[in-house]
Amino acid sequence: MISPVKIWRRQKEIRSILGKKGKILTWSIIYAAGPEFKKFAPYPIVIVELENHQKATAQLVDYDKDDLKIGRKVVAILRKVREGGAEDVLVYGIKFKPT
């Protein structure tokens, strides 16, 4: 079960990153994933350095193949990041998309 308390704690951090722009430091496309993410594979993950030099690790969405490169500019957006059972809370968090 997804813990609502953990999500609540985490969301305080999410708010500070949302809408911030940055550039891709590195990336990979994950083909072999754990059970929770298997249905989304293959999916790209990026480490981004934001304009305030804060760094974040998250999935890249709404992208073209050419967007997967070091230095590409991206912006932090709010997306559903995990999906538990029917009774679980929905988990929203940070993903990035190209600007």
Binding site: L25, A32, K38
Partner: protein, 383 residues
Amino acid sequence: MTSVIGYYTTQFGELWEKSFSDLIEESVDGVLNNSFMDKREIDAIFFANMLAGVLENNLHAPSKIAEILGVHIPIFRVEAACASGGVAFHLAKNYLESHPAKTVLVVGAEKMTDYSPEETTNALASAASGEEQEAGLTFPGLYAMMAQVYLEKYKYTEEHLAHISYKNHYHGSLNDKAHFRKKITVDQILRSAYIASPLKVLDCSPISDGASAIILSSDKLLIAKANHKAAVLASEVATDTISLKGRKSLDEIFATRIAAEKAFNHSKLRPKDMKVAEVHDCFSIAEIFAMEDLGFWKKGSGGKKAKERVTMYGSGNDLIVNTSGGLKASGHPVGATGIKQIGEVFLQLTNQAVNRQVKNAKCGLAHNVGGSGGTAVVTILGN
């Protein structure tokens, strides 16, 4: 001087017929038999394991080992992800320094193949940060992100990485305990499926079962009468952030550099004194980082050196690396790996490595990494 006086490893691989306890028991019995010792001569045990708690709801291993052996001595479980074995060895050495003239067992074991690849992938990701896990980042994914930076920065290709797997599979073909004993071609590696780009199946170490055990002693009389012995000249541990994003640089394992510097200073030896090394090649890129960060190769030259296969058995060069087959071909039962690495160096230094024996190997190094570089252990043995 603390010395390794015995080593045994089980077969590494998909061992359907062996349980976690069976593997531990075989490795302990094996090392005692190999060293002509009795369990009553063992004063303490250090046990390395990462996943039994996560995968099979199996903790409190010290008391299980006490039951297997029928002993009442102190037994400690050590967990540092894939560096559990190296850290257990380090703690065992420190224990002996505060308990003179004693003898301890260092055992590492992991049972991984009872579970689906997804379950094991998920369990291994427990060694990553919460943010990385939430993003769906996997353990291969972490190294893939580092590989991406390295390949771009130094203008190398996936083919440069492939030569590491080629070499280690050749070495694995010479090791009867290895998970994979099959040689593979560079073309096969390049044509294998992606796990996390740019890393493919044949860039990655496998999911394996296995257990390895070492006897470590500071008892001068026991060491003197041992048939095979190698002195522990250094054992150093260093740590770094668990998050990849928190690292100073993404094209190195900084903790390796710190542990190596301390180990070489402590032993008053240099990288060029090493004739054999077992380095942590959980992925092909990881062996390149290891060779550079340990000081064997200049930063950025690793892709070229890998392609030249300068550390392959039979190359006639001064340093041969991963004669066991490394994690790639010998297999990677996580808790056992760090012990097997030190054990392989011990076999080389005591002239027991048969068909993969490196001539005149007087000093050797073992390098064990936890997670994506959050822990690194460097051990130097010598005669």
